[in-house]
């Protein structure tokens, strides 16, 4: 017969709750680009701040108290722990509420979720990072991970395009990479009305002319708006990239992040569980993907 105590002592909701947000303090708000701020967070619990580990390409569920919860990719590298950096574009109700918060205000964080980039496979190979616009946000984690473990990777190439110089995310730190000899950092803008931009001017695919890429030993990580996928993917295929070495980071509506709420499904996969990093082979096999 069941004992009444058994129920009283059984509280997975309190002890093992995957939906439990952990409170984190906003320690810095860096206004990189109008409505594309970089929020630096640190968990209130020191233990959690020390132990939190993620893979490049993973995301968290970010709660803005009173407004809601949303998936945000992690822009900081796991090689630089203790804080989380999130590049958030102000685009909807919850991000609006986030933008009303100030340094030292509290938000909720749970995660990390998703598969992340297959680092074990990528290591020892060359890496090509190709991003347009906000696509730099998830790729930045991979970029700094590779640079912080420089000896574990072959050639590293970054191709990043923004509309204008003032729209370029992480501009200062990326411009500083241009002079480094251990990475080929190629930055371009569609247009430069101010005339002050010293980098390339032109569309993102034009940067291929300046990159030395060996498709047989390179993983390509691509992220950006649909137009980026359209041109970059075709270019990579033309170069002879195997379809499972082209990695894409996707976004979908998500409410749970843990394979339950159903919103992020693409074809027969959940973006939150089998993604958000998909290969191009996945993409051509899953309807509605891009």
């Amino acid at each position: 017969m069941l004992v009444a105590d058994e129920v009283a002592t059984y509280h997975p909701v309190l002890t093992e709750n995957p939906y439990q947000p952990h409170m984190a303090r906003i320690v810095r708000i860096h206004k990189m680009v109008e409505n594309n701020h970089l929020f630096t967070l640190r968990f209130l619990e020191d233990q959690l701040a020390h132990s939190f580990r993620h893979q490049p390409g993973q995301f968290i569920m970010l709660s803005v108290p009173g407004a809601g919860e949303m998936p945000i990719s992690i822009s900081s590298s796991p090689s630089r722990p203790e804080v989380l950096e999130l590049c958030v574009r102000r685009v909807g109700r919850v991000t609006d509420a986030l933008y009303r918060l100030k340094t030292n205000d509290l938000v909720g964080v749970r995660g990390p979720y998703g598969n992340g980039y297959p680092m074990q496979e990528i290591m020892a190979n060359d890496v090509l990072l190709a991003a347009g616009g906000l696509g730099m946000a998830p790729l930045r984690s991979l970029l700094w991970y590779a640079l912080d473990h420089r000896d574990k990777f072959g050639n590293i190439t970054l191709m990043y395009g923004a509309k204008r110089p003032e729209d370029m995310l992480f501009r200062e730190e990326l411009v500083a990479l241009v002079d480094r000899t251990d990475i080929n950092c190629l930055l371009t803008v569609d247009a430069d009305p101010s005339g002050a931009w010293k980098g390339h001017v032109g569309l993102l695919p034009a940067l291929f002319d300046y990159a030395k890429i060996d498709p047989a030993r390179t993983y390509a990580a691509v992220c950006g708006p649909p137009v980026v996928y359209k041109f970059i993917l075709q270019r990579l295929l033309d170069l002879g990239f195997p379809k499972n070495r082209i990695l894409m980071s996707l976004e979908r509506r998500m409410k749970c992040g843990v394979g339950k709420c159903g919103h992020c499904s693409i074809g027969y996969k959940y973006t939150c569980m089998q993604g958000p990093i998909f290969t191009y082979w996945d993409a051509i096999n899953l309807p509605e993907m891009i």
């Binding site: 017969m1 069941l2 129920v7 009283a8 059984y10 509280h11 997975p12 909701v13 309190l14 093992e16 709750n17 995957p18 939906y19 439990q20 947000p21 952990h22 409170m23 709660s63 108290p65 009173g66 407004a67 809601g68 919860e69 949303m70 685009v91 909807g92 109700r93 919850v94 991000t95 509290l106 909720g108 976004e251 979908r252 509506r253 409410k255 749970c256 843990v258 394979g259 339950k260 709420c261 159903g262 919103h263 499904s265 693409i266 074809g267 027969y268 996969k269 959940y270 569980m273 309807p287 509605e288």
Partner: protein, 344 residues
């Protein structure tokens, strides 16, 4: 598995004993249909029902549920309201038990949902066999019989209910009745087999689910989806009444005049316009046709890839609930047909 039998005349006695294990809920009649509800008195129970409007899903994944309360200074405090309520669900059909087993795969797999887990643990299930009507296709979906997921399961074999004892709790229920249950003999087993045979012959519908995944892939661009899209109202009724539809939405509400609030989840449907809408305004399933296609695709194709079988159990509720008579069995049948020009 322990198998016993209960004389039919003793069922009310059994029901009165079983109440000590939790609040008794069973199908009752309401406006000519059936609903699972708390029994005011045992004679209200209707064990010879066809199907309830809502499946037992509502007990394990309530239509609205508070997950957290938020208080400045305290953060998100989990809500445990109602999770320890003990309920005995009496009279659950095999397809519905099967559906709960499917929900178990989603909610008790990786990242266990603790709210679901607590309810699943505190709600006992006593299943009962049924006779298929013309909307049932549970046999096609391999859900006409269920071998686990219940505490007790009753088969009507004439003068007796033959009872499968599924769990230790089910066994406790049997023991609590003293000696109401009797051992089964060869004649009882024959009676069961006859019952099983008769049930099999009673089905009107038969759809084939073998290689359905592949046919879905082949017919992904079929014109049938546009036809269904023009018919479908996107009302989401099929999702609400589906025993395995588990999509939910989450929303945060602030209490008036304070910074405190709560986080609630509620049933959602992939047929709603905003199901795949993201903040940038991009909607990955903007067209109605793409949404109804997605619902079929996820049930009959996506779930197979993920969990090894379709998430449909053939209960027929979506057919009853659809205001424009979209019939799941018919859609599958049309997709499989060679001569159906509508599918090109």
């Amino acid at each position: 598995m322990k198998i016993l039998k209960l004389p039919k005349g003793k069922l009310d006695l059994f029901a009165s004993v079983v109440q000590q294990f939790g609040e008794l809920h069973a199908p009752v009649e309401q406006d000519g249909k059936y609903v699972f509800k708390r029994l005011a008195r045992w004679p209200d129970a209707r064990l010879e029902y066809d199907r309830t409007i809502l499946p037992p899903k509502k007990y394990f994944l309530p239509p609205r549920e508070t997950l957290f309360r938020y208080r400045p200074g305290e953060g998100f405090v989990p809500s445990t309201d109602g999770l320890d309520q003990r309920i005995v669900l009496f009279g659950v059909h095999a397809c519905d038990v099967y559906a709960i087993n499917i929900l178990d795969q989603v909610f008790l797999g990786k990242y266990k949902d603790p709210y679901y887990q607590a309810r699943r643990r505190n709600i006992a299930i006593i299943g009962i066999d049924c006779t298929p009507d013309k909307q049932c296709f549970c046999r096609s979906m391999r859900a006409d019989f269920v071998d686990h997921g219940f505490d007790l399961f009753f088969y009507d074999t004439g003068d007796y209910y033959q009872a499968l004892v599924g769990t230790a709790l089910g066994d406790d229920m049997v023991l609590a009745t003293g000696n109401l249950f009797e051992p089964v003999g060869p004649a009882d087993i024959d009676a069961y087999k006859e019952r099983s045979w008769n049930k099999r012959r009673a089905f009107h519908l038969d759809v084939e689910i073998r290689d359905l995944s592949e046919i879905f892939e082949m017919e992904y661009e079929s014109g049938i989806w546009d036809q269904l899209g023009r018919k479908c109202l996107s009302c989401g009724s099929c999702s609400m009444v589906c025993p395995t539809c588990y999509c939910y939405d989450v929303s945060d509400d602030v209490e008036l005049g304070s910074r405190a609030g709560k986080r609630t989840r509620s049933w959602d449907s992939c047929l709603y316009f905003n199901h795949a809408l993201v903040a940038s305004g991009e909607n990955f399933r903007r067209d109605r046709a793409s949404r109804i296609k997605f619902r079929f695709y996820h049930k009959q194709r996506g779930f197979v890839a993920e969990y090894g079988r379709p998430s449909c159990v053939g209960c027929g509720r979506c057919v009853s609930a659809c205001p424009v008579n979209i019939d799941t069995a018919q859609v599958i049948d049309r997709l499989r047909r060679v001569e159906d020009v509508g599918s090109r």
